[in-house]
């Protein structure tokens, strides 16, 4: 049983490609190096590193998952198996996400322990252990939202490029406009993806995080339903 799981994991990593697992390490290392450079230049790099976890890691993983979720050289054979391809695709997405989540968890813990003041205001009043758990929503909520949306767009449009392009547009809109829109459009609050970086003093940090998690869950369910439709997946193989 353990041997089969090990083989399956190895095959999943092979199908995804080592670069998928290397990407979050490269990204966080790049941010760490740039943060050191900023430190040498006398600039406080904390907020920059928070941006790396909250803004850049989620979009990077969103683009990667949207590209790799249906990529398999043996996809047509996989679709004939009794075990559904939906389970395989979700397992691979979780493997990709789990690995980047592990790295983000470590980075956030170190960051918060070194600089507790960068925590969202709502978390600062909580006991340390509970706050450390809650702080993980900083990267977890946008990470799940972007990957779920990227996967859903790719499956719906049969296009890996569409997922990446639309995620990029949304990401840029969030970065550039959403903060200025919020005061007059409170209904946009559940779509405020990067409050820790853009508005650290936000009062409803936890509720917006849970709303984003809820949307991500809904998108994962929709993606699951699309993945279960074998005919739909088969059509997408030769689409691009």
């Amino acid at each position: 049983m353990l041997h089969t799981s090990h083989k399956s994991l190895r095959y999943d990593i092979h199908a995804l490609g080592w670069i998928v697992l290397a990407a979050p390490i490269m990204l966080l290392s790049g941010f760490l190096l740039f943060a050191v450079l900023l430190l040498i230049m006398g600039i406080d790099p904390t907020r920059f590193f928070v941006a790396g976890l909250e803004m850049f890691l989620p979009i990077a993983m969103g683009i990667i998952v949207s590209t790799t979720c249906t990529r398999d050289a043996a996809l047509e054979i996989q679709l004939t198996f009794p075990r559904t391809f939906a389970a395989t695709a979700m397992r691979r997405a979780l493997l990709t996400l789990g690995w980047s989540a592990l790295l983000a968890l470590g980075a956030t813990l170190i960051l918060i322990l070194l600089r507790p003041d960068i925590q969202p205001q709502q978390m600062q009043s909580l006991p340390l252990l509970l706050a450390l758990v809650g702080d993980q929503l900083l990267w977890l909520a946008p990470l799940l939202w972007f990957t779920a949306l990227g996967m859903f767009i790719t499956l719906l449009t049969h296009s890996r490029t569409a997922g990446g392009a639309l995620l990029s547009t949304i990401w840029l809109l969030e970065m550039l406009f959403i903060k200025n829109l919020l005061p007059h459009n409170p209904w946009l609050r559940p779509l405020f993806l990067f409050p820790t970086t853009l508005e650290p003093t936000i009062s409803d940090w936890l509720s917006t995080r849970s709303e984003i998690l809820g949307m991500a869950l809904l998108l994962f369910i929709l993606s699951w339903l699309l993945l279960r439709n074998r005919e739909h997946i088969l059509k997408g193989i030769h689409h691009e």
Binding site: I19, A23, L38, M41, I43, D44, F48, F56, I59, A60, I63, I64, T67, T68, T157, S159, R160, T161, A162, G164, A165, L166, S168, T169, I170, W171, L172, L173, M175, L176, F177, I178, N180, L181, H184, N185, L188, E240
Partner: protein, 270 residues
Amino acid sequence: MSKQREAKQSRKSFTAFRGAFKYEFHMQLRRPVLWIVLLLSELLMLGLMSRLVTLHDLLLSLRLTPPMLTVVIWTNSINYLLPAALGILIADRLPRDKRTGVQELLTTLPGSQTARLFGKFLGSTLATLLPIFLFYCLGIAVILFLSRSLLVLPLALATFATIVLPGVLFVGACATALPTLIWPPLYQFLFLGYWFWGNLYVPRNIPTISTTILTPVGGYMSSGFFGYTLFPIAYASVFTGCMSLLLLLTLSILIILALGSYQNWQLQKL
């Protein structure tokens, strides 16, 4: 004899360029995803813009602002987001040719490989630009209707040609060439990061190149030629505008030439 051979060679290269251009242009235009992505991006952009100002205020400001300034602002707004989507939509063209074996097949045909690359680059870039241009024309039609000044039309063409086009060609050249060297999703992410950091990021603490003349977003052309820009540049003159435009066009050509040399080198290795 040698002149005849040269003329024949250049005819073959031109045929390869024309063939690649026509094929890429039509193929890209027929991709539903191109229209879906750009239409959704445009709707999202319009949706957010409509939340920033009310329709009444917008119409009032359109009537009160000089038409030239309105056209420049509209051209700058187009360049905020849409070239980023364009860069990602083109990024899969050459990797696709490699995956389907078309690239290998094309090497057996007469005509220069580099000419074919130029055709591919221009065909896919201009086809992807078409939905953006149509959206741009829609905005210009509204400005024309409200200002009732026919001067808007040549001005709109001039701003599009000098602010949008050079940057889009640079983005198209990078999107054609770089995914052959790096993993396409990684390219997409790096390009997006570059678009934000190297074009839109207002210099605060973090060092940036968004104030240099190497900004495909077109701030130098906009400010240098037309006197206004939405982008974070410190100072621009006609000279820096020309320099920025020439730099972007030269780099676009050099990138495709370098890609052609790289592909020829790869062929020789086989």
